[in-house]
């Protein structure tokens, strides 16, 4: 290249070229739909979420309490054999104040996604969830939080049975 070639290929378009039909287009969609088998670990995990509880799995070889639970220890490569009840509290490892939705549209009320290390699980082990019930400027890394659950009759056995995590000290 690059010294010798001046004119690089590629024809940039503006969004309007596409929208207005100035260039021809074809639309399509995969309409791809799935019903994934939950399997051993996720079945129990979601059942316990419906009960308003967090659970992990202990590996008897390395002694770690694995969370989210899984049917195997990825470090020891062995099956896990013991369910462990965990409290629904933890510590914010990191968080963000997000002003856009999954499809890049702006949203009015920012969302506060966070990685939360769950108490009783091994070091760093935790989950992705949202922080709520607090002004964004009062959220901090290292803050203790607890889960705020949906009312029992609204729970479906899903990660969204937890509405959000909220700081335990004001």
């Amino acid at each position: 290249m690059s010294v010798r070639i001046q004119d690089f290929p590629g024809t940039p378009l503006r969004e309007d070229d596409v929208r207005s039909g100035r260039v021809l287009t074809v639309s399509g969609a995969a309409r791809a739909e799935y019903a994934w088998d939950l399997g051993v670990a996720m079945t129990r995990y979601l059942e316990e979420l419906r009960n308003g509880r967090l659970v992990g799995q202990r590996c008897r070889h390395c002694g770690r309490v694995l969370f989210p639970p899984r049917a195997f220890c990825e470090q020891c490569f062995c099956p896990t054999t013991e369910w462990v009840a965990l409290p629904d509290t933890g510590v914010i490892q990191t968080f963000a104040i997000c002003h856009i939705a999954w499809d890049a549209q702006r949203i009015d009320e920012p969302k506060l996604p966070a990685v939360i290390a769950v108490d009783g699980a091994s070091r760093n082990m935790g989950l992705l969830h949202l922080i709520g019930g607090v002004e964004p400027e009062r959220v901090a890394v290292g803050q203790r939080v607890r889960a705020v659950w949906r009312p029992p009759d609204e729970r479906q056995g899903a990660i969204t049975d937890i509405l959000y995590f909220t700081p335990t000290e004001a």
Partner: protein
């Protein structure tokens, strides 16, 4: 070995549902733009020819797939050809049975190398035959949008 625990009761079996929440808008490309404009505006297809490989691509390609050289010899392609194969498809793209099966043909265009796949129509009880001549039936000019389905189907000649 294996998992230490299994789900042993059928009523605990569950699935989780999901999808790809996306649609797509495809530009038809440098060569497609020219070929499909021709179809829309003049009711015929354009092809490109690689003289070195002695291949005529229809619809047109920007390049020859055999030698990867840029093609700039554009040739008009009449929408008539020979039936190289056909099939009667009994399901739609969702796997549902069709009330009227779809008749699909593999058409060797007279002016091009290779084959075009398209629907067949106006057979009216006539059995398709390999080697028979077929021609395209186009949508009216006012309804054409610059798409391969501006051709409604191919029908027997005569």
């Amino acid at each position: 070995m294996g998992l230490s625990e299994r789900i042993a009761s059928g009523d605990r079996l569950r699935t989780w549902e999901g999808n790809f929440p996306l649609e797509h808008l495809y530009t038809v490309g440098v060569a497609g733009e020219r070929a499909l404009r021709e179809l829309k505006d003049h009711g015929r297809l354009l092809g490109t020819r690689c003289a070195r490989c002695e291949v005529t691509y229809a619809p047109a390609r920007l390049y020859c797939e055999r030698c990867l050289t840029r093609l700039d010899e554009w040739v008009p392609i009449a929408l008539v050809g020979t039936l190289a194969s056909y099939t009667m498809v009994h399901q739609d793209v969702d796997g549902q049975l069709l009330e009227t099966p779809a008749l699909v043909g593999l058409i060797g265009l007279d002016d091009a190398s290779g084959h075009l796949v398209h629907r067949l129509g106006e057979f009216d009880g006539q059995q398709p035959r390999l080697g028979m001549k077929v021609e395209a039936v186009l949508r009216p000019a006012t309804e054409r949008v610059g798409s391969i389905v501006d051709i409604r189907y191919f029908r027997p000649v005569g």
